[in-house]
Amino acid sequence: MDFLPHTADDEREMLATLGAGALDDLFEPVPAEVRFAGSLDVPPALSEPELADHLARLAAVSDGPGLTCFAGGGAYDHHVPSAVRALAGRSEFATSYTPYQPELSQGVLQAVYEFQTLVCELFGLEVANASLYDGAHALAEAINLSVRATGRTRALVGEGVHPHWLEVVRTYTSGLDIRIDVAPAGPAGTVDWAAVDATDAACVVVQSPNFFGRLEEVSAAAKCAAAAGALTIAAADPTALGILAPPGELGADVVVAEGAALGNAISYGGPYVGLFATRLDLVRQVPGRIAGETLDADGRRAYVLTLQAREQHIRRARATSNVCTNQTLMAIAAAVHLSWLGPEGLARLGEICVRRAAYAAGRLSEIPGCRVRFEGPHFKEFALQTPVAAADLVPRLAGRGFLAGPDLGRWYPELGDSLLIAVTERRTAEDIDSLAEAIEKELAEA
């Protein structure tokens, strides 16, 4: 099936209009010596029922989704409300493109404007953009912003930041004159920001809850940054911000987050959505698109893409970023989900996560040889230390129907006995008790 509308008559008439004898004549500009003569080595075409069967077979061979999910590490098994899926899946949103013609794009533009407002409310800041690729990308762009804003070239990143995000930051800045230093985490899995010297830093980066699920002292990080004239970049978890203080109020100048948990499928890591917000005085340094309110020719309220002079299609080599296509549809899903939740729903979501995670931490710590690796306040995730190699435990738990982890030894060799356990509103007390029993059995057999 090729989705082409051309009948044989259409093709003949169109070629006749062009004065061309054959379709091939249209490719005259392509030099003969580089033309591809054969048939591409791609599998033969499938009809729709054949294709549906093929895809269903592939999907069925991925057993992961059949397991009870306690896995975390930056992606979480949250519920996507039916209304959110239905609305964000509407083809008027899904099959449109960047709102270059505002008269035909008020739907997307207003939804993005609402999204920006919601992100500002969550983060306690004044301006948000229309989305970036994912949390890691949002952080990389935030660091680049801090370098432009301060004229300094060193970023000081807390060790609790997601190790993949740190890798992305290193890759993004690898061609630029930017040094990435890591502020080590202490025995509690958090950075003692009061003891950190941020002299010469463009920014201080703190993630809370951090990769180990621990809440960091964001205001201490902000004090450390302010003392050195650096910007504070905080990475947040939007599902926590019904109960946790907005990072902007704790002193963060830029707040970024992975927004996938708001209304988007877990989908093997993408498409996700990077959330990005900052202070109004930094708005001209913001990467990516921004929707703004204005009036139309008849004085009606209308929305447009604004401050486009920051962007690559205008500013080219001197743009604030190279971003063009972003993750708008994911941002719309996030906006719908936040509107579905409202302030009370978001607070309830946070309460369920933090209390069920606390219950899980307590229950799993009762298992002989197991304990929560880092003491102190957590949100929905914690590192569980076990008496065995966590890399071995993860597949064995899968054999018992549970997806847990990742094991921390992948990034931190000294934590090879620990794995992450994440608890969302989809995990019940019974699930947690069953996981505990599964771990007990595995350890008994080890």
Partner: protein, 497 residues
């Protein structure tokens, strides 16, 4: 089809409220359980100074009102599923529904990215099949799926270029870019830590070989080229261009923004390209989502394979299983949190398997046929900036309208009233009053005939009744929003009155 937006419910509302303005204290859409566990309350789990004092200003609405709000909002928006969308360079072709079902299969949509490889074999097989097919179509050796969009693919490719030169102890400073290139090219070059140097187009709308010769030296890291270029012209000197850039030790980068017009006809690898990014949301028909998500896999030739971001998907023939190989000492590093926009890659795979090799070539041929057919139908009204056969798109100019005091943007706005989304206007920058048109292969002859008639009508009206154009559109929910005001009196979030 005309006045499609005017007919919809969402557009009839005179001052369409924001979701916040529909909020009433005490209403709710949310449905969540009690925590229901034996655990301390939030106040004991979260220290006082880390807790939120005042709730965020999220709206309080019923689910019914929420659904009505966003449904009506969606009706205030153009989309491919509504009608033709001939934005040049954006490739707004039909997005098959079977691909949506594919991405929603629980085995894909509910797959956690940290799942052990043994439990994700179906997803990895899909990616492996897709990689093989895309490498076959581009003539490249390997690729990474991490880039979430074309621009991220560009950065990934440029960093690989950097790693390649660095591995040879070679320090280079500049990347050459034609003046017709997308803005992402120079922006990506800056982000990669290099200087972008423009080379002018000649009277054919192609890279000026003499100008290129003048800027090439041993400081040049590479050349980024879109072929066919943004003027819809195939760079017919490509073999010579490749020879020239390789002669000074540079690499040739293929910007896949227009790959849709040559799939199955010519492979970038055979033209001498070393690095290729694809925009799966263009060439492989995945939905553009109002501005994203896309997917920008980055493919390389064999000599650059070792620099690809880790992990790299690998088939273990002995164990007969797929796995992610993290042991890649020369890799440039990670560019995405996980494996890129997997859900988009699933859709692209569904499309590719639906077409097969002959289908892919037919798509390229019909895209070029449609563009040329439309070009010929409108060329008296809107002459093309560069004469002759185009590929999948052409750049016309609205310069003839100027003598009637009408701008190309006015013609674009008039097209809206006539039932079409306008083509791209004022890009590429090298053409005065540019109108960049890409009908795509999925539009029928009748649709193209109607679009051509509408374009010709706007040109006639420019002469006979220019005010109709200057005052257009009149059928949309809003008319010519004031962009200067938006930037001057900046309102980028709602605040209560």
């Amino acid at each position: 089809m005309s006045r499609a937006l005017e007919a919809s419910a969402g557009t009839r509302e005179p001052d369409f409220p924001l979701i916040f303005e529909r909020s009433r204290r005490g209403r709710r859409a949310w449905s969540l359980p009690e925590a229901g566990v034996d655990a301390p309350p939030v106040e004991e789990l979260v220290p006082d100074h880390l807790r939120r004092r005042t709730p965020p200003g999220l709206p309080e609405v019923s689910e019914r009102d929420l659904v009505m709000h966003y449904t009506r909002l969606s009706q205030r928006n153009w989309a491919i599923d509504v009608g033709a969308y001939p934005l040049g360079s954006c490739t707004m072709k039909y997005n098959p529904k079977v691909a949506e079902d594919a991405a929603a299969l629980p085995g894909f949509a509910r797959l956690h990215p940290m799942t052990p490889d043994d439990l994700t074999q179906g997803a990895l097989e899909l990616l492996g099949n897709l990689e093989r097919a895309l490498c076959a179509a581009t003539g490249m050796a390997r690729l990474t799926f991490q880039p979430a969009a074309g621009a991220q693919g560009e950065l990934t490719g440029l960093l690989i270029m950097r790693a390649y030169h660095a591995a040879r102890g070679d320090v280079r400073k500049r990347v050459i870019i034609p003046d017709s290139a997308h803005g992402t090219n120079p922006a990506s070059v800056s982000l990669a830590g290099w200087t972008a140097q423009e080379v002018r187009s000649d009277e054919r709308g192609l890279v000026d070989l003499d100008a290129l010769r003048d800027v090439l030296d041993e400081d040049v890291a590479g050349l980024m080229l879109t072929n066919p270029n943004t003027l819809g012209r195939f760079e017919r000197d490509i073999i010579e261009i490749a020879r020239m850039i390789h002669e000074v030790g540079g690499l040739l980068y293929y910007d896949g923004a227009n790959f849709n017009s040559i799939v199955g006809v010519v492979r970038p690898g055979d033209m001498g390209f070393d690095i290729v990014h694809m925009n799966l949301h263009k060439t492989f028909a995945t939905p553009h989502g109002g501005g994203g998500p896309g997917s920008g896999p980055l493919a390389v030739s064999e000599r650059l394979e070792r620099f690809l971001p880790a992990p790299v998907l690998t088939w273990d023939a002995g164990a007969e299983r797929w796995h992610w190989d993290h042991d890649r000492p020369d890799a440039i590093g990670r560019i995405h949190s996980f494996h890129g926009n997997f859900g988009i890659n699933v859709r692209a795979y569904a499309y590719l398997r639906s077409l097969g090799p002959e289908g892919l070539r037919r798509v390229a041929e019909r895209a070029v046929l449609n563009a040329n057919y439309l070009r010929v139908l409108v060329e008296d009204a809107f002459p093309t900036a560069y004469p002759g056969t185009c590929m999948h798109e052409f750049v016309a100019t609205g310069k003839p309208l100027k003598k009637h005091g009408v701008k190309t943007m006015d013609a674009a706005k008039r097209l809206i009233d006539l039932g079409f989304h306008p083509p791209t206007v004022y890009f590429p920058l090298v053409v005065e009053e540019a109108l960049m048109v890409e009908p795509t292969e999925t539009e029928s002859k009748e649709t193209i005939d109607a679009l051509a008639a509408a374009l010709v009508q706007t040109a006639r009206e420019a002469e006979e009744s220019p005010d109709v154009l200057r005052e257009a559109p009149v059928t949309t929910p809003v008319r010519r929003p004031d962009e200067a005001r938006a930037a001057r009196d900046l309102r980028v979030r709602w605040t209560p009155a």
